[in-house]
């Protein structure tokens, strides 16, 4: 005698904690509609997860929090040190100025970063409720090391060396609003003033 129940009910009845639909990557075996048929995407990096934070609703008196868009591209076939110069170039610029500078730069990474910025701008307007696509500035722009593969590089006379095929990641954070004014460079006078202030802040501890 076989008491045939629906699969999930049987599973929950037998072992409440075990869910066979979770064990199977694809649901070819158990023909139930409630099972997720798609495999999970590749492990999301920390930068991608930054887009998911949800702030509590703002109170009526607070100034409007500007929209932040995090975007990145992984495993770009370029060196992280060379990409850093481009990232440093566009840090703090408005997105239009950054796109203009990258368009007339001859480096290979400039084309890649331009595509990333355009994608991020598109995402901002579509998903993140940004009103004007020019009203964005680049708050952060970083590079990171990607995966390196080692290969043999053949030299003359039977010699060889090991070379590394380098890749990098590029991360960008766009914030809505006009770009902040650049802070004036720290002069020696400012440093001296700060030093004197530090000396003046010293007090006697554990005394009356």
């Amino acid at each position: 005698l076989c008491c045939f129940l629906a699969g999930s009910a049987w599973a929950s009845g037998l072992l409440g904690w075990a869910r066979p639909e979770r064990w199977l990557a694809s649901s070819s075996l158990l023909p139930l509609s409630c099972i997720h048929t798609s495999t999970s995407l590749q492990k999301l990096g920390k930068w991608e997860k930054k887009n998911r934070i949800v702030y509590p609703p703002q109170l009526p008196g607070e100034p409007r929090r500007p929209a932040e868009i995090y975007h990145c591209r992984r495993e770009i076939k370029y060196s992280k040190d060379k990409m850093w110069y481009l990232a440093k170039l566009i840090k703090g610029m408005s997105i239009d100025q950054a796109l203009a500078q990258l368009e007339f730069n001859d480096k290979k990474g400039a084309k890649v970063i331009k595509e990333v910025l355009l994608e991020a701008q598109e995402k901002a307007v579509r998903n993140y409720n940004v009103e004007f696509k020019s009203n964005l500035y680049i708050a952060e722009s970083l590079t990171g090391r990607g995966s390196y593969t080692k290969r043999i590089r053949y030299h003359g006379k039977g010699m060889f060396g090991m070379m590394k095929i380098v890749r990098c990641h590029y991360f960008v954070k766009l914030v809505e609003g006009p770009p902040p004014p650049p802070e004036p460079p720290r002069t020696g006078f400012d440093q001296a003033k700060e030093y004197v202030q530090q000396l003046r802040n010293r007090t006697l501890v554990h005394t009356l």
Binding site: Y85, K157, G158
Partner: protein, 182 residues
């Protein structure tokens, strides 16, 4: 980084030994005394005490190899990351911000002040390519260039009295706005 690996082939090793031996003999004329009268003034560098023996094999060649490279410039200590950063992030190595970017009045794309707009130039290039295809069809082969001028006429245009003896190339489209008719 280059890792020079000495392969175990005996032929290669003896070749290397002979090369280094030749180098040593050439670099240390003072040590070998009167054996090389053809060489000019002696080198003003510290020469190692021992001289390489061309007859010996195996172990003798390697100490002289190490001795002869004592006088080459080499870094004394590892450059720290702070020193490396100071060099790599020096303002003369950072990319300069370009201040000669403008907007093209014709198409609205960005262009550099002293360079033609890339978008407009691409349009002109495409049209020129099609005109040249027409010319090739008319000529039908190499070395058939006529000795008269060429005039390009678009849809609905007739050759004027000025274009009497000239070669006419027809293009089956409307005249582009940037191609002004004389």
């Amino acid at each position: 980084a280059l890792i020079v690996v000495f392969s175990p082939l005996p032929r290669l090793r003896s070749l290397l030994q002979r090369c280094w031996g030749r180098l040593d003999r050439g670099l240390l004329p003072g040590v070998s005394g009167g054996q090389n009268p053809a060489w000019g003034p002696a080198l003003a560098v510290q020469a190692p005490a021992f001289s390489p023996q061309p007859a010996d094999d195996s172990s003798e060649a390697w100490p002289s190899l190490l001795g002869s490279i004592l006088w080459m410039a080499a870094p004394k200590s590892r450059r720290t990351i702070e020193v490396n950063r100071c060099r790599r992030r020096n303002p003369n190595k950072l990319i300069k911000v370009k201040r000669n970017i403008d907007v093209c009045p014709e198409c609205g794309n960005l262009k550099q002040k002293h360079i033609l707009c890339s978008y407009c130039y691409a349009k002109v290039k495409a049209e020129t390519r099609l005109i040249r295809k027409e010319i090739r069809k008319k000529e039908g082969g190499p070395f058939n260039v006529p000795t008269v001028e060429t005039v390009v006429l678009y849809d609905g245009e007739k050759p004027t009295e000025k274009d009497e003896g000239k070669r006419i190339i027809e293009r089956a489209r409307k005249r582009p706005s940037w191609f002004v008719q004389n």
